[in-house]
Symmetry: C2
Amino acid sequence: MAELTERAQTLLKALTERYIRDGQPVGSRVLARDAGLNLSPATIRNVIADLEELGLVRSPHTSAGRVPTVSGYRVFVDTLLSVQPLDNSMVGALKQSLDTTADTKDLVQKASNLLSDVTRLAGIVTLPQRKHSSLQRVEFLPLSEKKVLAVLVLDDKEVRNSILNTARHYSSAELQQFSNFLNAQFAGKDLDEVREKLLAELRETRETLDRMMATALEMADQVLGTAEQGSDYVLAGQTNLMGVTEFCDVGRLRQLFEAFNEKKEILGLLDQCVENEGVQIFIGEESGYQMLDECSLVTAPYTVKGKVIGVLGVIGPTRMAYERVIPIVDATARILRAALNSQD
Amino acid sequence: MAELTERAQTLLKALTERYIRDGQPVGSRVLARDAGLNLSPATIRNVIADLEELGLVRSPHTSAGRVPTVSGYRVFVDTLLSVQPLDNSMVGALKQSLDTTADTKDLVQKASNLLSDVTRLAGIVTLPQRKHSSLQRVEFLPLSEKKVLAVLVLDDKEVRNSILNTARHYSSAELQQFSNFLNAQFAGKDLDEVREKLLAELRETRETLDRMMATALEMADQVLGTAEQGSDYVLAGQTNLMGVTEFCDVGRLRQLFEAFNEKKEILGLLDQCVENEGVQIFIGEESGYQMLDECSLVTAPYTVKGKVIGVLGVIGPTRMAYERVIPIVDATARILRAALNSQD
DNA sequence: CTTTAGCACTCTGACGGGACGAGTGCTAAC
DNA sequence: GTTAGCACTCGTCCCGTCAGAGTGCTAAAG
């Protein structure tokens, strides 16, 4: 692949940019004017023919211009693209919209909106994976005759409560005891570590027949069960995709939206981006999911305390303005990280 | 309007049903076969001409069949419609999917999914209006140096927490005092009543300079502020609408989806249904919102302890199977009410 | 007076051909 | 290596035609 001549590269770049701009197959004539090289259309045609040979462009039909293929886009984003640095006012604006006072869920929602607003495409942000976060404390409050409210504090920004149905009534004092016991045992530990120890203790304690501890542990187990939600994401700005000419067909659009509802597959795809540091791009069928056929996905992971805990990105047509979208996704990831890490 | 002859009614009914069934303008020939009356197409045409005069049907173009107008639909649903009673197995299935263990938010989400799944249209459920519900208790927990977690228990199913940023650190003991004080004062009272008393006390207490009480009240005020979210709704199954032939145009579809995102207008519409007991129907432009032009909305309010606290319903094309949708909406409202009222 | 048959009329949608424009590939000349 | 010229191929747009569906009207039958 590296044996593309400089000229061929320039032309592929010009062609792709042009096609991204106005969505029409690009002919040799416009390319001659557009590319800056002082060449006649005929020469251009020769070079383009080579590109076609290599599978980087193709023509939709005999006498139309050329359109980048998936490989063409790949080369374009990997080696030809000149990303526009984000101007500072933009960064400021982004930062401002993600004020740090909100809780995690809010932040994620806002980040998603932000991405979709700024790119005019669909924004997607996974909820932070909390299984590696530590348990700060647990509280139990009596709610009614046979209901107990469990409050799980994960960190400064993340609190979850769940309602437990109990076999009998528990008094405030009893519950307080439970809380104290559990906090002494588990506070500060990782959630999955807690889970593990919990099960071990549960087995052991059953044998020693310490009713109170057993109950406390069972309760804790229940809470963790409900708290350990599967991963999920927040999507925003799907309607933006309806403006895109590629999806003028309702059938296509429907497929896409149904994929969004399914979540499983999209999540699988997003999971692949977790390892990769920095911006990652899936173009069209590269994703392996054919409902994202004419879509590209631009993602970046975000971290808390150095650990990657989620992914955010933008979904749009393959024909999207990568040079604009990439820095935006990148910046948003950094800003979200900053917002999540701020401990004020 | 009541001066429709029996025959005209029968024909309008047959025509509407037929049109709902297959979406094509209905001609006199099919109507002659379909309506059960033993009349020739020619006779039918005369009657239909009268209906057109009355504005109940219209033809899309000169030599097409007829289509019901909004007024036509109105007459149809108000006086001609024979709603199918829901068979019991269906009711059972509905009940089952709304198990009562979930919390309010979950229930609402599930109800919405249910509506959309069963009707194959879009389901919509407003979140319960909680401003008339009573405050069961308040708890404050220290979270970190200058953060306090406030837990607001509204009732057995509804717990909210919010994180307060405080001016200085408060100890567990202090916070416990606050909780006790507030619970003594306000537990069991309506939320807006609490709010009112709170403001009054706040003024008074400032003068007496009781620092502790003042702080407690201020905190409570903050919590109430965050807890009193504006009304909102949960929508499900929008993708179902993409299968509907009426919305084959992406532009239309987009308008509709953007209206869903706006929420304000839809909420305004739903609010109108709160007063009305039982199922209410908006057909097409009747709603007054032109983004719902070719849509109908079938709603029913749901209650808790006798008070209407929300609305649920279905959004679909005017050409929807009312006789099926109406009982489903009705039943779902009852089932949701049962689920919300169960106090086990 | 109501119902019906017959008929002319109108409109839509599908099909097909011709003109046009865009763009290519090839060849031969620079 | 580059370019101009030219024949060729498609896709699109614009009719004109034709069949089908359904109407409105009129005149006859019940």
